[in-house]
Symmetry: C2
Subunit: 340 residues, 2 copies
């Protein structure tokens, strides 16, 4: 058994913990309820008890190097505290890192969960082996991160990678950020659902209306299934979704020119439905493609997608954050020059 | 007299050479004709003769550390050759760096002229003292660069910083790059002139028409003067120009979150005419502003510009490239640990 670290993925309702080897293998994994409403002390006590059981079990086989935790919210990685989190009431200014370090007796790292997911994909997922990577996680909004080497590029105000707030419409929809026309109003999972509801309300989407009346909590999966069954309205929703995402990505390709852009989030399972129009948009606008002669396949919705390998889907799903969180203690030790 | 290096700014028609001290002072400057059509050998002979006269003159006072040259085109900095240049016919595959090193006997660095200008502004201009900087040079197109620390961030295909090709219009004008709706079709100096000509052609711009008939080679300066004299059409042209530039910048602020974005190019002398609408757009869309309470002044064309110090105008004008070119030999020596 090799040396290992612990990765923790804290959500509003779930707390997932994994022991991960230096080589990036999951040794063991525990899923707990987060019980966030009971406050940070409770959650951290539960978590540390579980971590200690896990490390006790594996300690004989290798060295326990430290723990990393991904947190949904604005994290101050220097002070090891949560600045702001919609899902974790009462955590502001609680000394998260210090409290965990006290209980575990090893170095602890905390970071935003989206940044952890990006580091995870970079380490063991889609971005394995590339030097620079952008990540876009399509969910309620669009989470984003820029990874240069093994590090998150954080930006002056720790806002680098906020791709969801790149404006793509001049007179667009108002966004929760206070701006308007932001890409996440068009190319996030929740935007897709909003558009589906709008189509239903317009009275011109009978198949979607039927699906929604059967299950009012309309999911992207339902729209996807209908699109794959040939429902024109659902196909068009994904077509527009992909086009909007491609418009955003073309701008990112031309301004940042990273090795790879990884698309994550549950809606990625509908890749087939939106990737063709996304790639068509990228091929029509990204410098690395427009300056090359176009192939006959270089047109909309044709499956010519494979040549645009610079944009690809995430591979680790919801485990990405665990990998990324577990990485920090391994990296940190490496940096100090021990066992490189 | 301190140690110094030589910066060279090679254009299609002009060749400018400056001896620059380690502290960033111009010691002496020479302007020559480039005579690019006579081919690289001629230009480099002329240039090296001039450099040698200059260094001979200053050699007694300090050490001549090396030379850097900015070239308009796609430069292969590793091999020291020009890959492609519209303004320098016959330079492709000519061993520029090796030929200059042979003649001067010091380390020589070559780079794209826009990248040199960005490094110059970062070193001695608007970006002095900041850690990260983006530069946008508004000219025929929009030249761009990302500077992290003292280095250009070049990107996988050396296309990082191609801000002129970030698409800002969905069904926009075709661009020379092969794409369409690129920002440089709306927010470059040549875009401004194109819009002015369109206004004249529409028959609804009498003041501009008069100015253009007096001098068919319409310049941004003419449009600016009319705007400042209150001509509504000219004012609107700059207003839209600023709004488009602000739209682009808001996206860059939200995705890259650099310390500062510096706007260069001759059209910057019309700053007063376009900055208000540019800043209004940025304040309405950039996360660092929209999340703060808006002031009463936070509206269009009101001179509230000064609070958006993250976007600022270039300070070195056409000298930026000379500073940046001269920097490389100074940095390089520093890196090797001599006289830090």
């Amino acid at each position: 058994m090799p040396d290992f670290s612990i990765g923790v993925d804290l959500g509003g309702t779930n707390l997932r913990i994994a022991a991960v080897s230096r080589e990036g293998k999951f040794l063991e994994r525990i899923d707990l309820e987060a019980k966030a409403v009971r406050g940070p002390d409770h959650v951290i006590n539960d978590m540390c008890a579980a971590v200690l059981r896990l490390t006790e079990k594996h300690r004989g086989d290798g060295q326990f190097l430290g723990a990393g935790m991904g947190i949904p919210g604005l994290v101050d990685i220097e002070s090891g505290t949560v600045r702001k989190s919609a899902n974790l009431p009462g955590w502001s200014n609680y000394p998260v890192r210090a409290e965990i370090e006290k209980r575990l007796g090893v170095p602890v790292f905390i970071d935003n969960d989206g940044k952890c997911a990006a580091l995870g994909e970079k380490w063991m997922g889609a971005g394995r082996g590339v030097a620079t990577m952008g990540m876009l996680t399509l969910g309620t909004g669009i989470g984003g991160a820029i990874v240069l080497g093994d590090e998150i590029f954080r930006g002056t105000n720790e806002m680098a990678g906020e791709f969801g707030h790149v404006p793509i419409e001049r007179d667009g929809l108002p966004c929760g950020c206070g701006g308007y026309g932001c890409s996440e109003k068009y190319a996030s999972a929740s935007a897709l659902i909003r558009v589906a509801h709008e189509a239903i309300a317009s009275g011109r989407a009978p198949a979607l209306a039927q699906a929604a009346s059967a299950n009012p909590e309309l999911k992207a999966k339902v729209v996807y299934d209908l699109a794959m069954q040939g429902d024109e309205v659902s196909r068009n929703i994904f077509h527009k979704f992909g086009k909007d995402l491609g418009f955003l990505l073309a701008g990112l390709l031309n301004s940042l020119d990273l090795d790879m852009y990884v698309i994550g989030g549950g809606v990625v399972s509908a890749w087939d439905a939106f990737a063709p129009s996304m790639f068509a948009e990228i091929r029509a606008r990204a410098l690395i493609y427009v300056t090359k002669p176009k192939t006959q396949e270089g047109n909309v919705a044709d499956g010519g997608a494979q040549d645009v390998s610079v944009v690809t889907k995430a591979l680790l799903g919801s485990d990405a954050g665990l990998y990324g969180a577990a990485r920090a203690p391994l990296m940190s030790e490496k940096k100090m020059g021990e066992k490189p």
